[in-house]
């Protein structure tokens, strides 16, 4: 499946269908060619004969840039985050990663207490230009390899948070992240990688997008209106963007015209695009793969209530994961992750 992108409508762009993995890899390659200060740090990212990171994003980069710039680390997530932060202070622009987002908890002190706060604690004298990539999302790997952790980081002042839903955005946002002078948490959904070969996800979406050959950047804080509608606003990020798009087709047959917004970055957040949509439709459903309580959808609900309550024709709803760990059994996982059916049902209830 393919989401509409700017590139698709640009006739001058040579058409290239790319997967998320290919697009992210191209972003890294371009930025490493452009700026010698960009280095990569992570586990299994550049080993000869290895797999180019847990999901092959860095495959081939150590061959081009060498092991001085594609640095394989021991299994030391706190060390990786701290070393990346220190290297960023020292004048480099590290792009570090963890194999699974769940491992970010091991690095939490370095990210939340050091990377996020050093600019502030120094009275604005220091910058921490680093990117921390992390794959998220439930993929029948159970509770410790399937969480969606974006909200934790949205809560920490000083960190930016990006959540691309498709390869076009993935490339443009990653390039922006690498050039940003702030620490950026860059979340990638495992079911969106669409990588071919050994690491292909069984239940993954074959999401591809047209990615132009010429360079482009996608600014942070600009949500994307993916589908215009008048009855209900559906807001999502990452994999979940694709569920409301499917739901919108079903709803259309039932005479409900849904508007779909891909937030693209949680920090900074494009509040105005969401507010404008809600003022038009009068109804809001937030779709998120994170646990319901304290997810980023709660923040969206609160802000919309503060700014648009007079425009609302019904309660703000969230279609989110229940407050449980991520289960293993596929039948339970399917229940856990928000489905098209749940979104359709919520929209019908709201509009009825």
């Amino acid at each position: 499946m393919s989401l509409p992108t700017e590139a698709a409508s640009n006739p001058r762009s040579p058409a290239r269908e790319m997967t998320m993995v290919e697009a992210l890899r191209e972003a890294l390659r371009e930025e490493m060619r452009r700026d010698q200060r960009v280095i990569l740090l992570g586990e299994d990212i550049g080993i000869q004969g290895g797999f180019g990171g847990a999901f092959t994003v860095t495959l081939g980069l150590s061959e081009e840039f060498g092991h001085r710039r594609v640095i394989d680390t021991p299994i030391s997530e706190a060390g990786i985050a701290g070393v990346a932060t220190g290297a960023a202070l020292g004048g480099l622009r590290p792009v570090a990663d963890v194999q699974y987002g769940d491992f970010l908890f091991l690095a939490m002190d370095q990210l939340a207490n050091n990377a996020a706060k050093l600019r502030y604690m120094s009275g604005g004298k220091l910058t921490v230009p680093m990117v921390f990539r992390a794959p998220v999302g439930a993929t029948t790997r159970g509770s410790q390899h399937g969480q969606s952790l974006e909200a934790f980081f949205m809560h920490v002042p000083g960190l930016k948070v990006a959540c691309p839903s498709n390869p076009y955005d993935g490339k443009g946002l990653l390039k922006t992240a690498i050039r940003d002078d702030n620490p950026v948490m860059f979340f990638e959904h495992k079911l969106l990688y669409g990588s071919k070969g050994a690491r292909k996800e069984q239940s993954g979406l074959q999401v591809t997008a047209v990615v132009p050959e010429e360079e482009y950047l996608i600014p942070f804080g600009q949500a994307k209106l993916l589908r215009s509608g008048r009855d209900v606003t559906l807001v999502a990020s990452l994999l979940m963007v694709h569920r409301p798009m499917e739901a919108a087709k079903v709803l259309e047959k039932r005479d409900i015209d849904a508007e779909v917004i891909d937030v693209r970055t949680l920090v900074p957040f494009d509040w105005e695009t969401v507010f404008q949509s809600v003022r038009k439709t009068g109804r809001l459903i937030i779709v998120e793969e994170d646990n319901l309580t304290g997810g980023w959808g709660a923040e969206v609900a609160a802000r919309v209530a503060e700014s648009c309550i007079g425009y609302l024709d019904g309660p703000i709803l969230r279609v989110a994961a229940p407050d449980t760990p991520v289960p293993f059994a596929p039948v339970m996982e399917n229940f856990y992750v928000p489905s098209v059916e749940r979104i359709v049902a919520a929209a019908q209830d709201l509009v009825a």
Binding site: S76, G82, G86, A87, L89, G91, Q110, R119, G158, D181
Partner: protein, 323 residues
């Protein structure tokens, strides 16, 4: 600066630096008692030789990382007394603009990152900064200060190991003051010396007398030269003692008074003063000149800090993000 023996001028400078650290901490102690400074403090009286010996062995563009007990590190590294005092007074003129406070003092231009007050949290930062030095082909090193308590947290292991495998130009300086807050070092580790752990990472380890400033200086010069030449990190353990409690509210009842008295007999400043006098480098006259010069310097720093404008409340909102 000679490799093994500092000249007379350098020796006097080290003595002066230690006295500055001590008098600064004493003044700060009373300023707190008088309620003129907000927050808390973790003081370093007794540990001056470690701070000064290490920092005297550094070059201008080297970097240090520090801990929740950073005042002596900052002074020894050359962070300005006025900006340090202003930071403790929570003023805009402070080295962190009033956003850091006692536990985060630092000034990168002076060669010190903001101190990291999570025990062990600064160790990977030091390795990372050293990685940048190495990558950028700079002839510089990082001196990473931490305490005996930090030697037991995971980031110590992760960062020392990473520095070791990549031969990073960093010297890990453990100020072993025998207590992690109130918990004695013998309750926290099975090995006798923190430096014993160096073997586990395949790097040199040394335990040195942290109350003898010249011993510290020589050890740091050796470890630093090695790191600077691309031969990788070392773990330098400095045995020392803090005369004060862990923080300002700690009377230190967990330490036997005989133990405290024995360490005060080995006061690093008194020891060095006696030696420099015996060797004719210092005399009573020079000592009192240094003392009054430092008193004036501190008097002025306090005066400036008190008179300096406070930040505006809404300055709280700036410096979260760059741009």
């Amino acid at each position: 600066m000679s490799e093994t023996r500092p000249d007379a001028e350098h020796r006097v400078a080290m003595y002066r630096s230690m006295v500055l650290c001590r008098r600064f901490e004493e003044r700060v102690y009373y300023l707190f008692l008088e309620g003129r400074l907000p927050g808390t403090i973790h003081q370093s009286q007794g540990q001056e030789a470690a701070a000064v010996g290490v920092c005297s062995a550094l070059e201008a563009k080297d970097m240090i990382t520090s801990t929740h007990r950073p005042h002596s590190h900052a002074l020894a590294r050359g962070v300005s007394v006025n900006s340090l005092m202003a930071e403790l007074f929570a003023k805009t003129a402070g080295c962190c603009g009033g956003k850091g406070g006692s536990m985060h003092v630092g000034d990168r231009d002076a060669g010190m990152l903001p101190a990291i007050a999570i025990v062990g949290g600064g160790i990977p930062l030091a390795a990372g900064y050293a990685l940048a030095f190495q990558y950028l082909h700079r002839p510089n090193i990082v001196a990473c200060f931490f305490g005996d308590g930090a030697a037991n947290i995971g980031t110590f292991h992760e960062a020392v190991n990473m520095a070791a495998i990549w031969d990073l130009p960093v010297v890990f300086v453990c100020e072993n003051n025998k207590y992690a807050a109130s918990t004695g070092v013998e309750k926290s580790m099975k090995v006798k010396h923190v430096s014993d752990r160096a073997a586990a990472y395949g790097i040199p380890g040394e335990t040195a007398d942290g109350n003898d400033v010249e011993t510290v200086y020589r050890s740091m010069r050796r470890a630093g030269a090695r790191a600077r030449q691309g031969q990788g990190p070392a773990l330098l353990e400095l045995e020392t003692y803090r005369f004060a409690g862990h923080s300002r509210s700690d009377p230190g009842h967990y330490r036997a008074s005989e133990e405290v008295a024995a360490w005060k007999e080995r006061d690093p400043i008194a020891l060095y003063e006696a030696r420099l006098c015996a060797e004719g480098v210092l005399d009573r006259e020079k000592i009192s000149a240094i003392a009054s010069e430092i008193e004036n310097q501190l008097e002025k720093a306090v005066e400036l800090a008190e008179q300096a404008p406070s930040p505006r409340s809404e300055d709280c909102l700036t410096d979260v993000f760059a741009n």
